[in-house]
Amino acid sequence: MSDFWNPYAALAPRQRRLLGVAAVAAVLLLWSLLAVSGLVSATKLPAPWDVLAALAYLGWHEGQSMLLTATLWSVGRLLVAGALVIAIGIPVGIAMGAAPRVNAVLSPLVDPFRSAPVVALLPILVMWLGIGETMKIAFLFIGAVVYLIPMVRDAIQAVPQSYWIGARDLGATPWECVQRAVIPMAMPRIADAVIVGFSVMWTYITVAEYVNARQGLGQLIQNARRFSAWDQVFAGIIVIIALALATYQFMVWLKRRLYPWETEQ
């Protein structure tokens, strides 16, 4: 325990995993004890095994999987919104980072939304776009893009000037410097921005799907709540957390594969 208070001490992977599993197990144990003891009523806190049963029920019941359908809807919305976030947010962020004039014009329009409650925009979006898919996609898009754009801009501006000067000296036009020297060097941090964007969208997906709930994991949770099926609410939440975590892990893995040099230097 001599290195307990030591931020630089590296734990063995086995030890780290063990401690993590122990923490989750402890929470599950506490949860089970609470459920068994009857201190908290089952309507407020369903037992872990009830949640598991609900998960199985949602996963397969009478020849269909509500969970799979809902997941596919949510993932589909997320992918459409994510594609838009990438297609629009990255070019805008690059333009802001690489051209101070563009930044001066756009930053007062974009930056305030980073700390603004995007959820508060939902009624306005409903008024403008109705309660269909367009509104849901737009909501996810706005929620993520206001984070992504400033992050991409910062990624561009964090590239050391020496790369720009070096390319300029070799005869690159200013745009070539940006295109061939600055953007490639900013890609790892741009990838980080995309990862954050997707995490943000997973946190907003339920909000988007509460309005006019028809399909999706948000709807599934909302529906279960209406019938006070708290075990299903818990199951839905756990699925969303698991999917968000899986998305994150996958994207981090992808980033390491695409930009292995970032960690080398």
Binding site: S162, G166, R168, D169, L170, G171, T173, E264, Q265
Partner: protein, 288 residues
Amino acid sequence: MSSEQPEAVAAAPATKQLSVVLEDIVQEYPAPGGGVTRIIDRVSLRFDQPGINMLLGPSGCGKSTLLHMLGGVRPLGVASPSAGRVLIDGVECSGPHDDAVMVFQRYANRPDLTVFDNVAFPFRLRLWRERVGEAEWRQRVEDILKAVGLSDKRGLRPAQLSGGQNQRVALARALVLRPRILLMDEPFGALDAQTRDEMQRLLIELHRSWPCLVVFVTHDVTEALVLGDRVIVLSTQPARIADDFRISEPRPRPASWQRARETLALEERILGQLHQASPGRGQLRVTI
């Protein structure tokens, strides 16, 4: 903002008359407390033959700024030069031009590209793509990799190379363009003594096979004496020319020459001139 390039295509440097002139160069910066600080004060220099020219001065004296002017690179948010002109073959130089290529102390090697692609980088730019066909530039890259001794490292990335090898990549990327002027900004300053010796010897060899005009900035007196055909000593705050002399001793200059009485006298002379011009300011390095 101008992106046009002068159309002079580099011929073999030895056969083409070359003239690089710095005329009454002044550089000033806004001072923190208002007013201006003059860091370069009426420096005039003329280079008209291929050779290694050493710009020697204490750290922070403005010699890198002079070098940037020769390269037409303006990294600072200040007009540069504040007064005076840079003429290359009689034409005033107002932006990046392809007669001169720079090698920086912090090598600007791309971590995501292999050694080969780092050296071939200029040929991804429109300017060089239009001038040099693919077959030719591939051959040139091969040749220069061989010349700097990195043929067997072509597939590695910068993080897998040592500091000296990285600087070889930077040198190769500059020379692959066959520049008439090679500008070197303390290129070996970050290397350990032994690697620096190796790199100096490599530069001498490369210069023998491609005798271009080299302007080499350093704050290392020994390096200036070992490499220079001509040594220009700059004082500091503001930079003025404190001394300017030629060394006719053929290169490579052996350790016995470096310890000879005439060499030590030269060293004394440099340090004396600098002390007189700007006592107690800036740092010089002497390695022997």
